[in-house]
């Protein structure tokens, strides 16, 4: 007899029939009916209409029936909250049943009924069950506290259940202890500030004792809980490690991984010269290797974690290369992870073996795996210098196979090898060129084009090769287009005589016929560069590139530390901090490894030194956006400040192009002397046709360029917004004023361009300000000496003082201006960035900062998000310093850089800021504290403006 028969009664009026059966007097019939109801529920039918009838069956001494009714309740109580009250009495009664199985069942089920109304009825039964004589009931009640807390945290706290739960940690029964620990950890995780698990040496000792006695799952709860503890010193750390290491022999992989987590974390505190440290390292390797014989999913989790462990402590597995060799029948996800670890473990000692394996893999059939294997060969070359030659010849062998995707992948990695060992393996270029036609993937095409451009002088027919790509320019992907543009410009700079036409062609394709702003911008930049100063162009475009490092694919050290604290969890599988994928975990403290031993610092010290100490000389990592193609100009360009519509191709532009090439060529050929100047003249006609962002005076062109470049390493000046039109000609009888503000050498300058769009000459200019929030006033008269003829523009710079009359404006930085000329008086208003008012002596002393920060009430603190910012914290700090925002201290906490900054306004108001920069997260958070909180909004806006320009 099987239960499947319950699924087959699908007749009309079924619910009605069931109702009748449920109310039957016969026990057996009742039970059958409940089974049918549960069967219907299982296949997804809605049987909630039977709620009262099913609940009526609850009072039974048949355990099986009771369990079924409870199951029904758990499923439907939420949809019938009012009727769920009916069940309360039975629950309360069952909690006092002489049979512990029933008591536990009742307390377990009632916690699963997530109906707010009935929770308070459950407090008394729960309290009794927590003190029950039977450990089975107590262990179930412990979990119930966590359930109740999830529904109504306040109630649990008010009722004092948390304290009872804490007491259960000292229970005599190991399973009760384990569940109490699990419940407390769960509550603590969702309420990070509750400080529930105040672990102290006494509780730790209790946990360690229970560890030896409880079930495998209980051991995991306890180990995960232990991992959150920070030992007081290295002695305590060692003694805990000693008691945890036996767990490494447990048959359950999850127990092993949790034990590894505790050991990896506590190991940080042990002095390296301690014998025990070495012993521990040795003990860790075998269990990690054995994890690879577990089920594939567990293997996968293990491999993802080993990947982290290998990065943190390469010495543990350095001799275990062979176990990571791929097996024929491994699932693909295991294969790919093994490959990754093989590369991380590759060294001079084992490289021959690794290469032989990789070559074998490259001939398999699984395309993704083969590709990754080919890439791995390239990574080996970059990682182990001695093997580079072998790798290159292996790659060449693979290219000879003519298997399309193998060839393409090989070319992509050879490009990287060139970047690491320039001028070493160029002899293979000929072979690569032979395969040009077979490349159909953008990445491979781009790589090949890069190679041709980079080594243009050694490839006789480089121009022909590049020209062949140019034919289908618009069908190429952006990646290829950008690369082609750069390569042809390189070629032109190397062989200017033969390639004029080509470069002209590509520049016009890029700037005129493309809708892609990145491509257009790069086209203009090159064009500009070539026309302004070809020598500089050479320096920029052909600049020596930073070498690719093997470390590019390492996880950033602070993130790695955090992930080590999460070994075995999803975070360690995703290689992402929990905050990146768990909702509502934003305020949660990032976990970090304890400081290394002997540093003498307390672990909570905010000094960044302890974090740095623990991560022993973090490897220099090339910023990830400097993608592997990374020539200087490939760095992410921030979009130009003015995003106008693309300029219509005009004859002026065409003319400019001609000029450009003529002039450019001259100066290139004419050597360095005077080239720049000659060029400027030759280019005279072009600016008018350039888009707005380029219409600044020619001399500013290069500056603009570098401003765009962002992190290229140029010293940053104070931020000054681009000019905007303040007074349109329409409103001022032909006078147009556009302007901006700048702060130069401590003086605020109002910079204006006055354009006469009327028919008559303008003279007698004067200017006046209305009263404003910070007392800005002209420090002298407006100096426009010559009359302004029709269609003429003039630049005027007006120094401002801050001693004028004060009146609070709305918005705060609004400035009302009156300009007079021989025709009339015109009024306009404009806003200045508050950063103009940041004075040069705005750097606060550290101590003063700390005191002031504390002193300013929290109500005055405001927090903002700056989105899409791609600067490192150092670049940020440099950039802001240019605008007199001073970084006083920097702290690195779990992958976040915290910059503490101060600034002082001209009227003596201090603004304190805390800027949080998280690696890999383009959104910064800035918290501002100021005694005059109304300035915060303006300061924030200027933060955004300063950082994004």
């Amino acid at each position: 007899m099987t239960d499947s028969k319950y699924f087959t009664t699908t007749k009309k009026g079924e619910i009605f029939e069931l109702k009748a059966e449920l109310n039957s007097d016969k026990k057996e019939k009742k039970k059958e009916a409940v089974k049918k109801v549960i069967a219907s529920m299982t296949v997804g039918k809605d049987v909630s209409a039977l709620f009262p009838d099913v609940v009526n069956c609850m009072q039974t001494d048949n355990l099986e029936l009771k369990k079924l009714v409870y199951l029904y309740l758990m499923n439907y109580a939420k949809s019938q909250p009012d009727m769920a009250i009916m069940a309360v009495n039975t629950f309360v009664k069952d909690c006092e049943d002489p049979n512990p199985l029933i008591r536990a069942l009742a307390v377990r089920t009632m916690g699963c009924i997530r109906v707010d109304k009935i929770t308070e009825y459950l407090c008394e039964p729960l309290r009794k069950c927590l003190k029950d004589e039977d450990p089975y009931v107590r262990k179930t009640a412990a979990v119930c506290v966590a359930k109740l807390h999830d529904i109504n945290a306040q109630l649990v706290e008010d009722q004092g259940f948390l304290d009872t739960l804490k007491d259960l940690i000292s229970d005599s029964n190991p399973m009760v202890v384990a569940n109490a620990v699990a419940a407390l950890s769960e509550i603590a995780e969702s309420h990070p500030n509750s400080n529930l698990l105040d672990l102290n040496p006494q509780t730790i000792n209790k946990l360690l004792t229970a560890l030896n006695e409880c079930t495998e799952w209980g051991q995991i709860f306890i180990l995960d809980c232990l991992a959150n503890y920070t030992p007081r010193d290295d002695r305590e750390s060692q003694s805990i490690c000693e008691r945890v290491t036996p767990r490494l022999s447990h048959a359950n992989s999850a127990v092993v991984l949790s034990a590894v987590k505790v050991l990896m974390k506590f190991m940080e505190m042990l002095p390296k010269d301690l014998d025990y440290y070495g012993t521990l390292l040795k003990k860790l390797a075998p269990p990690l290797v054995t994890l690879l014989s577990a089920e594939p999913e567990l293997q996968y989790v293990a491999l993802r974690n080993i990947n982290l462990i290998v990065q943190r402590r390469p010495e543990i597995l350095k001799h275990e290369m062979k176990v990571f060799f791929v097996k024929y029948n491994d699932p693909i996800y295991v294969k790919l992870e093994k490959l990754d670890i093989m590369i991380r473990l590759a060294s001079q000692a084992n490289i021959a073996q690794v290469l032989a394996e990789l070559k074998e893999y490259a001939t398999e059939v699984d395309v993704d795996f083969v590709r990754k294997a080919v890439r791995a060969i390239g990574r080996c070359a970059i990682k182990v210098e001695q093997s580079a030659e072998r790798c290159v010849s292996t790659l060449l062998d693979l290219i000879q196979t003519k298997v399309n995707y193998v060839v393409q992948e090989a070319i992509v990695v050879i490009k990287d090898i060139f970047r690491k060992y320039p001028n070493k393996y160029e002899s293979v270029i000929a072979t690569l060129c032979e395969n040009l036609d077979s490349l159909d993937e953008p990445e491979a095409r781009a790589a090949m084009i890069w190679i041709v451009g980079e080594y243009a002088e050694r490839i006789d027919n480089a121009d022909e090769l590049l020209e062949s790509f140019l034919e289908g320019f618009h069908d190429e992907s952006t990646q290829v287009q950008l690369q082609l543009l750069t390569a042809i410009v390189k070629l032109f700079l190397k062989k200017p005589t033969e390639t004029q036409e080509l470069v002209q062609q590509v520049l016009s394709l890029a700037t005129q016929d493309s809708d892609n702003p990145d491509l257009r911008d790069r086209g203009y930049i090159y064009w500009r560069l070539l026309s302004t100063d070809p020598v500089a162009a050479k320096e920029v475009v052909l600049a020596e590139k930073p070498l690719i490092s093997e470390e590019t694919d390492l996880i950033e050290p602070t993130l790695l530390e955090e992930l080590i604290c999460h070994i075995g969890t999803l975070a360690s599988v995703y290689h992402k901090p929990p905050s990146a994928f768990v909702e509502g975990s934003r305020g949660v403290q990032h976990k970090r490894l304890p400081g290394s031993a002997g540093s003498g610092e307390s672990v909570d010290s905010p000094d960044p030194g302890s974090a740095a100490g623990a991560s022993e000389a973090p490897p220099a990592v090339i910023p990830s956006q400097g993608d592997l193609l990374g020539d200087l100009l490939n760095l992410d360009l921030t979009p130009p400040t003015t995003t106008g519509p693309p300029p219509a191709p005009s004859s002026g532009m065409q003319l400019g192009a001609m000029d450009l090439l003529g002039g450019g060529l001259d100066s290139l050929l004419g050597g360095d002397l005077g080239g720049g100047a000659a060029m400027g003249a030759g280019f005279g006609a072009a600016p008018a046709a350039m888009p707005a962002s380029f219409s600044a005076p020619v001399s500013g062109g290069l500056d603009d360029l570098f401003d765009l470049g962002g992190g290229v390493g140029m010293p940053m000046g104070a931020y000054s917004p681009p000019k905007t039109i303040w007074l349109p000609a329409m409103k001022a009888k032909g006078l147009e004023i556009s302007g901006t503000f700048a702060r130069r050498a401590g003086v605020i300058q109002m910079e204006m361009t006055l354009t006469n769009k009327a028919m008559s000459v303008m003279t007698d200019f004067a200017i006046q300000f209305n009263r404003n929030s910070f007392g800005l006033a002209p420090a002298g008269p407006l100096q426009i000496l010559t009359p302004l003829s029709p269609n003429q523009s003039i630049e005027a710079s007006l120094p401002l003082s801050t001693v004028g009359p004060v009146m609070k404006m709305e918005p705060l930085t609004n400035l009302q201006v009156a300009v007079k000329n021989n025709i009339d008086v015109f009024y306009f208003s404009c806003q200045y960035p508050i950063s103009m008012l940041f004075v040069e002596d705005g750097k606060m002393e550290r101590q003063v900062f700390l005191a002031t920060w504390k002193d300013i009430p929290n109500d005055n603190e405001s927090q903002f998000q700056i989105k899409d910012c791609h600067l490192s914290s150092d670049a940020t700090s440099n950039k802001l310093q240019g605008s007199n925002v001073f970084t006083i201290a920097k702290r690195t906490v779990e992958g976040q850089d915290m910059l503490y900054q101060s600034m002082k306004l001209t009227n003596g108001i201090w603004v304190l800021a805390e800027l949080r920069v998280q690696t890999g997260n383009p959104n910064y958070t800035v918290s501002l504290k100021c005694r005059a909180p109304e300035v915060s909004q303006c300061v924030f806006q200027s933060y955004e403006a300063m950082l994004k320009n």
Binding site: D3, S4, F7, I38, A39, L63, E64, L71, N75, N99, L101, R108, C112, P135, Y136, K139, V143, D150, P174, M175, V176, N179, A183, E186, N212, T215, E216, W217, I220, F221, D224, R243, T245, P246, S249, H250, A251, A254, S258, P286, V289, S293, E295, E297, L298, Y300, V301, K327, Y328, I332, Y333, E360, V365, D368, G568, T569, L570, F581, V582, S585
Partner: protein
Amino acid sequence: MSASAVFVLDLKGKVLICRNYKGDVDMAEIDHFMPLLMIHEEEGLLCPVLSHGSVHFMWIKHSNLYLVATTNKNSNASLVYSFLYKIVEVFTEYFKELEEESIQDNFVVVYELLDELMDFGFPQTTDSKILQEYITQEGAKLEVAKSKVPTTVTNAVSWRSEGIRYKKNEVFIDVIESINVLVNANGSVMSSDIVGSIKLKTMLSGMPELRLGLNDRVLFALTGRDKGKTVVMEDVKFHQCVRLSRFDSDRTISFIPPDGESELMSYRINTHVKPLIWIESVIEKFSHSRVEIMVKVIQRKMKYRQFKKQSVANNVEVRVPVPSDADSPKFKTSTGNAKYVPEKNLVVWTIKSFPGGKEFLMRAHFGLPSVENNELEGKPPITVKFEIPYFTVSGIQVRYMKIIEKSGYQALPWVRYITQSGGKLLTQH
């Protein structure tokens, strides 16, 4: 901490049964699982963790079922997978086969088990022997009086109940070693390892204390003993009954065994092993017409340590892969039987009994269609399976098994040794 809910799905993604443990993930989210899995499978990016929005699915596949756990927290992933496999183990012990039919046939028990196995995402009692004491398939016949929690559930010894009685007290010890050897095309050994396990069949009364003595080199070094052959075990994993801290301190394997069959321990040995059975093969593929295969198996001469006699390998099975479009097989063997298994693209050659020092030959001939199969095929290796009784490659030996029970009965330990292939691989071409 771990799972919010656990689902059992059929191959099409239909939910057969599920249990919501925490209520923080919408149960309807499971509908995204199957489409997500298909997308990943198509892209060749299959992965044991899939995510949809803030929900993460951790899944395993068992015969024609998917077992899926959902969560929206940073769960302990290794715990979840271990737990899912534990569910498979428990269900299999309850229903013999875990498949769609057995779930449906036993849904009441399945619900009861799911309720007992995990609470609020925390795995609880998962020992099926103990579970069987209070969750039975004959729920109807269960008397109220009998349905008490066995104290075992919460005992420190959670794997053995009290009051077990046997007329004759015996324990059977099986030492099973499987060797994995990977040989490349040139005939050189790429990797080899031995995975051993010691299995017990315990038929002892009461709560006996057992101590197992092996010729473990570390132990011998510790105790200063220095005679006889010893074995270095690379990594040892124990059943939860073994006192790990005791082993850690003085290498003593002491435990109270679970009743009936169980795996006491497993170990790994990293020494270099010569393949016990050697394969030579010539595979000639004539495109568009035929493929000819010649395979030679040789068993190395070995002497048993215990009794000086030639070894014999039993149930030798040589599996030779053939192209998927091969047809009309013809075989010729010097011993045993060869059989074509088209659904696996294999020729399986079985030899019941294979004395040491001998060698045998098989020839196979297949036709190939004149139209070439465009699909690239992998090059699966030739594999060999075998068993050699009364023999361990590593030389591990059970030196003693001490059995102490307070009633003071005499018990007999029996020991058997066997070596198996863990799937010996030979890369061809």
